[in-house]
């Protein structure tokens, strides 16, 4: 990791002088992590990079130990994890660390990414740095998904089924990709084996890309809360001990949160169904991914309608991939020349809404999409029946399936001519059915109302039971109010997610008047210091 400028490293001993001529690894470390100039105004949002490095190390080390005991076999995987938890010395600790560690990793990476978004860390000259970061994130998602399959619980199995199914929605190649990834027609032993292999491989790929990410960081230099470039030596402090100590302190606080989960809430972030061994014959009542993937799950399910020639399933898949893909081109979507949103009063508002939208997308992803959030009125139905009448019955036969409506109307007309007050036609086949009418008797009505469609149907059934045998049949008129469901909310949130990147950032960058940006990093720092002193 060669960095700009003159190296200040001077080998002191004979050995380090000898080494420096042959493998200048000490020089590189010194230049990258000791003397490396760091903007002096970095706040705590800049400490998450250090936490992420630690998370990667924790996941790899605990993962390597777990792999010594884990058995990637459909009959033994679940039991092998139980054995790790029960019999391996401190196995419970290592297993909890790995499972909770995944959540902590994502928590830190999301804060890190939002930090980059807010302070414009993706803008020139840091585009590649940002793109490498997005690549790391995409690899993390893949690794986490693969890892979640390994315990071979119900959610492991069905999560893998859902995700590989949605790949099958891709046109032309989808089905082949699906079979290729699964290693067969269904999720089975072949799938588990390859998922284990890839889950072991990808973290090392991540480590490689992290090295590139840090290299790119040290080439372009760190961004900072003002977004102003480093101009003089006054703007910076040496990385060690200044940034190092701050990172260590923040990481230690982060570890406390990590420990609270490991030791006191190890299962709080998981799903109870994953303690049920995988059963391909029994679909769980709800299939949800881990919390960190819920926003994308909500985007996937927001598309319950066809988009032109694209059917809803494919549209959802494309939107889900696009929601991550769009991050890669963000440096060219944001047209503003000002990096930090600190000086962009309008963009800042939209950014805060964007953060809330992402959180609510996550909430939607965990809900049943049909759940009703708001409705204009209760679900109501009116039942009408005739009590004490005489029932007449006749057969209905249509000339062809298409002519059914005609035959239906004709049969009713005949019954009404006979004096029937109410008629009902039941279709039994494509062209056959029976018509019934009630002659005489007294007309009765009843109204029911309920909170949901299912409850309404139950209420209707109950009302029918109460009316009992006295009524030969009922006319049921349902009045379903307009509703606002979780899916509707997801659609609005998804729309905002994409509008933020595709419209708001490009347009705002051209039209917004930023507030005054300081000339140097050091200036506002020393100015506030003087104000404080005065």
């Amino acid at each position: 990791m060669k960095i700009h400028g003159h190296s200040t490293y001077e080998p002191k001993s004979g050995f380090t002088r000898w080494l420096d001529k042959r493998l200048p690894i000490v020089r590189m470390t010194h230049d990258s992590f000791v003397a490396y100039p760091t903007p002096r105004n970095l706040n705590y949002w800049w400490t998450f990079g250090a936490m992420l490095s630690l998370c990667l190390v924790v996941q790899i080390v605990s993962g390597v130990v777990l792999a010594m005991h884990y058995i990637p076999h459909v009959d033994f995987a679940f039991a092998s994890i139980q054995r790790i938890e029960r019999d391996i010395p401190y196995g419970w600790l290592i297993q909890n660390m790995h499972a909770v560690g995944a959540s902590m990793f994502f928590l830190a990476v999301y804060i890190h990414m939002f930090r980059g978004l807010y302070y414009g860390s993706y803008k020139a000259p840091r585009e590649l740095l940002w793109i490498l970061g997005c690549l790391i994130y995409a690899l993390m998602v893949a690794t986490a998904f693969l890892g979640y399959t390994l315990p071979w619980g119900q959610m492991s199995f069905w999560g893998a089924t859902v995700i590989t199914n949605i790949l099958g929605a891709l046109p032309l190649v989808g089905e082949s990709i699906q079979v290729w990834i699964r290693g067969g027609g269904a999720i089975d032993q072949a799938t588990l084996n390859r998922f284990f292999s890839l889950h072991y491989l990808l973290p090392f790929v991540i480590a490689g890309v992290v090295a590139l990410h840090i290299w790119a960081l040290h080439e372009a230099g760190q961004n900072n809360p003002t977004g102003v470039d480093v101009k003089t030596k006054q703007d910076t402090v040496p990385f060690t001990p200044h940034a190092t100590m701050k990172d260590l302190f923040a990481t230690s606080i982060f570890l406390i949160l990590f420990a609270v989960f490991i030791f006191y809430m190890p299962d709080a972030l998981g799903h109870a169904d994953n303690y049920i061994p995988a059963n391909p014959l029994q679909t769980p009542p709800e299939i949800v991914p881990e919390w960190y993937l819920l926003p994308f799950y909500a985007i996937l399910r927001a598309f319950d309608f066809n988009v032109g020639p694209i059917d809803s399933k494919l549209a959802g898949v494309l939107a889900m991939f696009a929601s991550i893909g769009i991050l890669f081109v963000l440096p060219w979507l944001d047209t503003s020349r000002v990096r930090s949103m600190r000086y962009r009063p309008i963009a800042r508002q939209f950014f805060l809404v964007f953060v809330v939208v992402c959180i609510f997308l996550g909430w939607c992803g965990g809900q049943n999409p049909g759940n009703i959030l708001l409705k204009a009125d209760d679900f109501r139905a009116t039942l009408t029946w005739v009590e004490g009448g005489q029932v007449v019955e006749s057969r209905v036969t249509a000339a062809s399936p298409d002519a059914w409506d005609e035959a239906d109307a004709q049969a009713r007309a005949v019954l009404r001519q006979q004096g029937a007050a109410m008629t009902a036609v039941t279709r039994e086949g494509a062209t056959t059915g029976s018509a019934r009418g009630v002659i005489g008797g007294a007309e009765r009505t009843a109204s029911v109302s309920a909170e949901t469609v299912d409850d309404l149907e139950a209420a209707i059934a109950e009302a029918k039971t109460q009316a009992g045998q006295a009524a030969p049949f009922f006319v049921v008129e349902r009045r379903l109010p307009p509703t606002f469901t979780v899916t509707n909310l997801s659609q609005i949130l998804t729309a905002y997610y994409f509008l933020f990147f595709l419209i708001i950032l490009p347009v705002l960058g051209l039209r917004e008047t930023p507030s005054r940006v300081p000339d140097t990093i050091a200036k506002p720092v020393t100015a506030s210091e003087q104000a404080g002193a005065a």
């Binding site: 701050k246 260590l248 809330v356």
Partner: protein, 282 residues
């Protein structure tokens, strides 16, 4: 703008809460189990009684495939044996009841644990005869895993009217509501039944294939604890919680030390950070 959005969100969440309230099984009763607090241990007497209820009632249909008899006598288990020093003679002697003494005490390896040995030997295990290779019945060993009442799922279903009694090894982790749910389920019957299904107000859907398993006085307790259905349910739920999470006590104890260490470290690092940045404007 942000405030308006937050207000709208709050309304949405409130509305959602109302919408979900309808049409679900009753929420499990919240019982104050000792293990629920961050520093709470297991009530080992309840775990022992719960194991007795499991052995005499539940084990007729439910397996616990991930537990071996030796687990009962390991540190943190309900039948862990300890030696303690006699105050008068100064000799080490075996404690008469399972569990560690207040102070000191030496853990007795499970191989030498007579309670666990007796429990294991009281069970008949089907094994392969080492001489003839034929199936043979023998008394259990501490290394045996809990005897499964059925050789396979088909046999289990055949004996239970098509329903499969789930394995109970991690049942409290595998159900929303955990031990509270298990306890509530066991006392949630109201005597109503429809064919092979029984009404239970805590079971999702309301109708469960398991007949009411517990009857008053069905298991006799040696320690004088009341032999009511509610007591059995509480004890079994406690035992199953231990079975699903046998290292909970060690985990919580370790957690206190780790977090205390991290807090102290954080304070030191904060002071060091302040020291380094003193005189640097930022």
């Amino acid at each position: 703008m942000l405030r308006a959005f937050t207000a709208a969100a709050a309304v949405l969440i409130a509305a959602a809460g109302v919408a979900f309230a309808a049409g679900e099984a009753e929420h499990p009763q919240n019982y104050p189990f000792s293990f629920e607090s961050p520093v709470g241990d297991y009530d080992m007497a309840a775990v022992q009684r719960g194991f007795q209820v499991y052995q005499q009632v539940c084990a007729a249909c439910h397996g616990m495939d991930h537990l071996a008899y030796r687990h009962l006598g390991e540190e943190g288990g309900p039948f862990a044996a300890y030696m303690e020093r006699d105050h008068e003679t100064g000799q080490l002697r075996l404690r008469e009841v399972p569990g560690p003494p207040e102070h000191g005490g030496h853990f007795v390896d499970v191989v030498d644990n007579l309670w666990v040995r007796a429990i294991a030997e009281g069970v008949t295990i089907v094994d392969t005869d080492p001489n003839s290779g034929q199936p043979v019945e023998r008394p259990g060993r501490i290394s045996d895993y809990f005897r499964n009442p059925f050789p396979n799922e088909v046999a289990a279903r055949a004996a239970n009217g098509g329903a499969y009694p789930p394995d109970l090894s991690v049942i409290t982790l595998a159900r929303h509501g955990g031990a509270d749910y298990i306890r509530s389920l066991l006392i949630g019957y109201d005597g109503e039944s429809q064919g092979v299904l029984h009404h239970n107000r805590y079971f999702p859907g309301g109708w469960i294939a398991m007949p009411p398993p517990l009857a008053e006085g069905a298991v006799s307790y040696e320690d004088g604890t009341p032999t009511t259905v509610t007591q059995y349910a509480t004890d079994v739920a406690t035992f199953l919680q231990w079975a699903a999470d046998p290292h909970m006590e060690a985990r919580k104890r370790t957690g206190i030390v780790v977090i205390a260490f991290l807090l102290a470290l954080s304070i030191l690092l904060y002071l060091a950070y302040k020291q380094v940045w003193r005189g640097e404007s930022h």
